[in-house]
């Protein structure tokens, strides 16, 4: 543990060393968060309800998805730059150290500037939560606390999947982005607005709907669209566990491919 703390500590120090440029980075990230939320807002100036959700519910959906994604992006977002790590020999250096390679890759960077986006999402969350009609029970309280964490876990696993794919497709950055950024974008809108195949894709292949939409259905006690019954909202931790299992298996296979056992 100490090793990872020292690794991360040095990353953080080097990013915050130049206060002014760090402040601008944070501001830029706040800007991205605001623009993304403005997009949701503009939609609701034209419609009252989108996919069964009113503006307050859509804002909460946005907030849940964005807290999860921005935290995942901050902590593991750099892993999808794997080709650069391969090219620069950084991965070989990881292989020469007595720690797991994925853990070294994850702790090799942390994008603190993404905190700006997390901040925007958290603010939207704090404002939108009381505006929604939620029946507070121990179960819903637990869900509200757990949902952002599992959302972050799901997106983090998607980033690891994206990294693993690039062991085979060194030029596969764009393809991999479709899963991570595409999944994040998809999760910001109610899954009910997508066609059934897309809805199933973003639930059971790329489990983006589990990150925010399904827990939201439970919180607001709404029936789910075809293919996504409300009770799936309780399965979010399971979905996170499954996608992590897939991510780790993919990563291991990718690393084996790199070292040559599989090729």
């Amino acid at each position: 543990m100490r090793a990872y703390r020292v690794l991360l500590g040095s990353r953080m120090r080097s990013q915050t060393a130049y206060r002014r440029s760090f402040a601008f980075d944070i501001l830029g990230s706040v800007g991205i968060g605001v623009v993304e939320f403005a997009e949701v807002y503009i939609i609701f100036t034209n419609v009252d309800v989108l996919g069964e959700l009113d503006f307050a519910a859509a804002a909460l959906l946005f907030a849940l998805a964005n807290v999860g994604f921005s935290v995942a992006d901050m902590v593991v977002g750099h892993v999808d730059r794997l080709p650069a790590y391969l090219r620069e020999g950084t991965l070989d250096a990881f292989l020469l150290r007595p720690l797991p390679v994925l853990a070294q890759l994850i702790t090799s960077d942390i994008s603190l500037r993404r905190l700006g986006r997390t901040g925007v999402a958290t603010a939207v969350f704090a404002v939108a939560l009381p505006l929604n009609d939620i029946v507070w029970t121990p179960a819903t309280v637990t869900l509200v606390v757990v949902a952002p964490v599992t959302a972050a876990a799901i997106f983090a696993a998607l980033f690891v999947c994206a990294a693993a794919i690039q062991f085979w497709l060194v030029e596969g950055g764009e393809f991999a982005n479709a899963f991570t950024y595409g999944g994040a974008y998809a999760s910001e809108y109610p899954a009910s607005i997508y066609s059934l195949p897309m809805r199933l894709l973003f639930s059971f292949v790329v489990p983006a709907a589990f990150a925010a939409y399904l827990p939201l259905l439970v919180l607001l006690d709404l029936p789910g669209p075809a293919g996504l019954p409300q009770w799936l909202g309780w399965c979010t931790p399971l979905a996170a566990a499954v996608i992590w299992a897939v991510a780790l298996a993919g990563w291991r296979a990718g690393l084996r491919h790199y070292t040559g056992a599989g090729s």
């Binding site: 620069e88 070989d92 007595p98």
Partner: protein, 331 residues
């Protein structure tokens, strides 16, 4: 006899190289970068691993250190199978790739060492002493707080070597550590490495293009060509085998157009209007002393230098003799 620290048997590594041929088709060729290599390294020895570019040196080192899996054959490093016991092995070896940095670009060495100490879980009570030893012996003191990206190549390489030795590994593997270094940096590095060996008994495996490295640091050399071992023995043995020549450059007090015939030598060049003569000689046919004596009878020698055979040249001759032998049976 103790178990060798490195043991390689019938080692082979293939790479699949795909190159575009036409719009959709790709040709797929299999290249054997390492092709049936076998050798053992005794603990405490110092071995030079040499060969032309692309001979398979780095590929071998990657298989020894757990970065690449062999296509066939076996590797044991420190008694471990490198890929399967990668993390265990990492604690027992230090590896430096001269052309690739393992340090953190934006961190100064001081912080890099602290991080490495945490990674290797070195005891807080003892590792600073080891660091200080390395800082002193490698003369890193003046740039310990400079980010690595701002260091000169020589400074960076010394930093890399210190980083690889911080956890006091019994085996040090260096892949072209002196490439691109100036004479002074090379010299400092050689002195340091020789000293570490004497002090800690560190086993050394190094690849290099520099004859002086081989001569000063190693007692055995292994030459590879196209992934195959073409020579394994001492440097003297290799030089004798290929008949490589040393060159004696003599500066004379008075210009002399020709020194005439000196037994066992061949005049390579006459420079500075006859003030400097360069004589090539095969070490097994005559000695520097004998030449000097013969010279002394013809001219007054002011200064002299001996140039060792160039490693590229020795290897080239060896390669040539290899390709010749199968075709023409020796008389």
């Amino acid at each position: 006899m103790t178990e060798p620290i490195i043991s390689v048997r019938d080692l082979r590594r293939e790479f699949v190289v795909r190159s575009p041929a036409g719009r959709l088709r790709r040709t797929r060729t299999v290249v054997a970068a390492v092709d049936g290599l076998s050798f053992d390294l005794e603990a405490g020895s110092a071995v030079g691993y040499i060969g032309a570019n692309g001979a398979g040196k780095s590929t071998t080192i990657k298989m020894l250190t757990g970065i690449l899996v062999p296509t066939a054959g076996t590797v044991r490093t420190c008694g471990l199978e490198p890929i399967r016991r990668r993390r265990e092995l990492a604690r027992q070896i230090g590896v430096v790739f001269g052309q690739r940095s393992q340090l953190w670009w934006d961190l100064p060495l001081r912080e890099s060492f602290r991080t490495l100490a945490a990674i290797h879980r070195l005891p807080t009570a003892s590792w600073p002493a080891r660091r200080d030893e390395l800082v002193e012996r490698l003369d890193l003191g003046s740039f310990m707080d400079t980010p690595v990206r701002q260091l000169s190549l020589g400074q960076r390489i010394r930093g890399e070597i210190a980083a690889a030795l911080l956890h006091s590994p019994p085996l040090l593997i260096l892949d072209e550590p002196t490439i691109g270094l100036d004479v002074l940096s090379k010299e400092r590095l050689r002195v340091f490495l020789a000293e570490q060996r004497a002090l800690h008994g560190t086993t050394l495996l190094l690849t290099t293009h520099d004859m002086d490295d081989v001569q000063r640091l190693t007692e055995r050399i292994i030459v590879v060509d196209h992934g195959r071992c073409v020579y394994d023995g001492t440097l003297t043995g290799l030089v004798a085998r290929v008949g490589a020549e040393r060159v004696m450059a003599v500066d004379l007090a008075e210009p002399v157009t020709s020194l005439g015939e000196i037994s066992g030598t061949r005049t390579v060049a006459v420079e500075s209007d006859g003030l400097r003569h360069r004589l090539a000689f095969a070490p097994e046919r005559t000695t520097a002393g004998a030449i000097l004596e013969a010279l002394g009878r013809r001219a007054q020698v002011r200064d002299l230098a001996i140039e060792e055979p160039d490693i590229e040249d020795v290897v080239r001759r060896l390669y040539l003799s290899q390709t010749r032998t199968p075709r023409s049976p020796s008389p």
